[in-house]
């Protein structure tokens, strides 16, 4: 199939032909030339979630991550500074780090023994006479910009551009909501990541994360056998809403449903009597505000392009190829909430990852979707659901019903903006 990306005609962007308000073209998920452009214009340009500071808590700690196709070493140096180093020796391009994680002040390339400090600086190389000097200005590459928000680490390969806070926009408030579930106002991601290989285009995942239309169908099997109340949150009569938070971010705001019941900890499937120490610590910390926090629960937010926070779980989506990506999933740990943390690990293991009783079914849908898209007719995927009833809220955000495709339309709007931007 020939690429649908053609030189922009004088009349407008090639994406005008692929992305409409109510539909998107199937080739967006299957065109490998377009995937290469996405790496350049999205993954190697905008802010992308990489990991969490708590994964490298101590000086010398490091953990390997992906940023698009690139292997990144997230390190904490002896001064406590974070770095996102590229795992590529400045000599011949070999990988300098082969362990998934560890603690080391240096990385030594196995090929010719070049050694780098964990801030990326070249500290030595054997047989210096061949270079006529003991010093070379050849350091490890770094992700040009790195910033954190409440410990969530993001990287951007663009040397300049909007800052992280600007990129996050209203989605920053959703990360705040997650953090305030901790009596100490802090979250950690320290329980390890499951790695789920997914034979589907990454955008199918990003779109699905705040699709409130699918849960009753894809997850009916587990909701039915466990008597879960989650399905009702995404019913046709739910008062929950889907909100386009701008810049490609979106959320399923479930708070209206939880406010109806006004029961602290219902969002977590428990009662305050069962987690008394947590509830006491929350009241101690937040005073009257604690009731609201414990009634409303955590966010369900997709942060463009790859960070999905689903109440107690965090997902990192990284592309591999046009038809393949990896989902990394882990359980949130709330600092100062020992009563909740083990249970969050247990719930997350039950639902997420390759054998998860929720996410494995989502993944099956992504993979069948990718196969379905090999059929070239009717060409388009429909994203019109809710256009007839969405409205703009008091903060200027577009809001649809619980099952509307408002979030997807927000995603595509940002996607189009980035793909059309002048580099």
């Amino acid at each position: 199939m020939t690429s649908l990306i053609e030189p922009a005609a004088a009349t407008g962007s090639p994406f005008d032909k692929l992305i409409k308000r109510d539909k998107v073209h199937g080739s967006l998920y299957t065109d490998s030339a377009l995937f290469a452009e996405e790496l350049r214009r999205i993954w190697y340009r905008t802010w992308v979630f990489v990991g969490h500071e708590s994964e490298v808590a101590q000086p010398g700690d490091y953990v390997r991550k992906k940023l698009g196709l690139q292997d990144v070493i997230m390190t904490r140096d002896r001064d406590g500074e974070l770095h996102l180093l590229l795992n590529r020796c400045a000599h011949r391009g070999n990988q300098v780090c082969d362990d998934a994680q560890g603690n080391s002040s240096t990385f030594r390339c196995p090929y010719h023994g070049w050694t780098y400090r964990n801030n990326g600086e070249l500290v030595g190389f054997p047989f210096f006479k061949g270079y006529g000097q003991r010093k070379l200005d050849l350091n490890l590459g770094q992700v040009p910009r790195m910033d954190t928000y409440r410990g969530f680490v993001f990287g951007s390969f663009a040397a300049d551009g909007p800052g992280l806070v600007e990129h996050l926009g209203a989605a920053a408030g959703e990360i705040d909501r997650l953090a305030q579930l901790s009596p100490e106002g802090a979250v950690e991601l320290t329980v390890g990541w499951l790695q789920h290989q997914t034979r589907a285009n990454w955008k199918l995942l990003a779109e699905n994360e705040t699709d409130g239309y699918h849960p009753q169908f894809v997850h009916g099997s587990i909701f039915g056998v466990t008597g879960s109340p989650i399905g009702a949150l995404y019913s046709d009569t739910s008062t929950a809403v889907t909100r386009d938070l701008g810049q490609g971010h979106s959320e399923n705001d479930l708070r209206p449903e939880f406010r109806k019941f006004a029961e602290p900890m219902r969002w977590f499937g428990t009662t305050e009597a069962r987690v008394p120490n947590y509830v006491a610590a929350m009241r101690e910390r937040y005073g009257e505000e604690a009731e609201k926090i414990m009634i409303e629960g955590g966010p369900h937010v997709m942060i463009f392009p790859n960070l999905f926070i689903a109440e107690i779980q965090v997902f990192n989506i990284q592309p591999v190829a046009v038809g393949e990506c990896i989902q990394y999933s882990t359980a949130v740990q709330l600092v100062g909430a020992a009563e909740l943390n083990k249970r969050m690990v247990s719930q997350c293991m039950g639902s997420a990852g390759p054998a998860g009783m929720l996410l494995a079914d989502d993944t099956e849908m992504y993979e069948r979707n990718q196969l379905g898209l090999e059929c070239l007719t009717p060409e388009w995927l429909d994203v019109r659901r809710g256009l007839n009833r969405e409205h703009v809220d008091e903060n200027g955000f577009t809001v649809g019903g619980a099952t509307d495709e408002t979030g997807m339309r927000g995603f595509w709007s940002q996607y189009k903006t980035l793909m059309e931007a002048e580099l």
């Binding site: 998934a100 329980v191 390890g192 039950g350 390759p354 079914d361």
Partner: protein
């Protein structure tokens, strides 16, 4: 590879009353039930204190770190109830499966919470899975704990350490 739970107590001598032929037949039967998605028969093999565990490379304390599967008896039941609905899409349609067990070793005796001693057995495995998305070869080593209960062998523990559990793996919808 992870051995954390196993290191908490050292293995005792191989307990009496476990015939090698009988044990091997039990393991092959368990494998066949899993291959044939015979959920009722497979579920009936487990003791009430069952633990079905598929760790990843970063798993240490499994109650505090992520595993692919860490199911007690209740969660095994939930997992099987879900798949029996026929709408557990990750396993509907079911995978076509056949597995080989080999290198079966009697490892020793492990004290259980009921005051008895379970037989701990290790074995290597390969499973060929065929699904619409293609074939996948799963391989690793399983540690079993077997108990005699009312005269029959029962499965109290099954830990499956995949050789590639430090890498991304595809959907694991079947019983491994």
């Amino acid at each position: 590879m992870n051995t954390a739970l196993d290191e908490h107590a050292t293995l005792g001598p191989i307990p009496d009353g476990f015939d090698r032929w009988e044990v091997e037949q039990f393991l092959y039967r368990e494998a066949r039930y899993a291959d044939e998605s015979d959920y009722d028969a497979w579920e009936a093999l487990w003791t009430d204190d069952a633990l079905y565990w598929v760790p990843v490379a970063t798993t240490n304390d499994p109650s505090r770190t992520m595993s692919v599967v860490y199911d007690n008896r209740s969660r095994i039941a939930t997992r099987l109830k879900q798949v029996r609905t026929g709408k557990r899409y990750a396993q509907a349609p079911q995978s076509n499966l056949r597995r080989l067990l080999s290198n079966i070793e009697f490892l020793g005796g492990r004290a259980n919470s009921g005051g008895g001693v379970d037989l701990e057995v290790g074995a290597n495995f390969l499973v060929l899975e065929s699904r619409a998305r293609g074939n996948h070869l799963w391989g690793g080593r399983t540690t079993y704990r077997l108990r005699r209960q009312d005269g029959d062998l029962r499965l109290a523990y099954k830990k499956v350490v995949l050789v590639d559990n430090g890498q991304p793996i595809p959907t694991l919808g079947f019983l491994i």
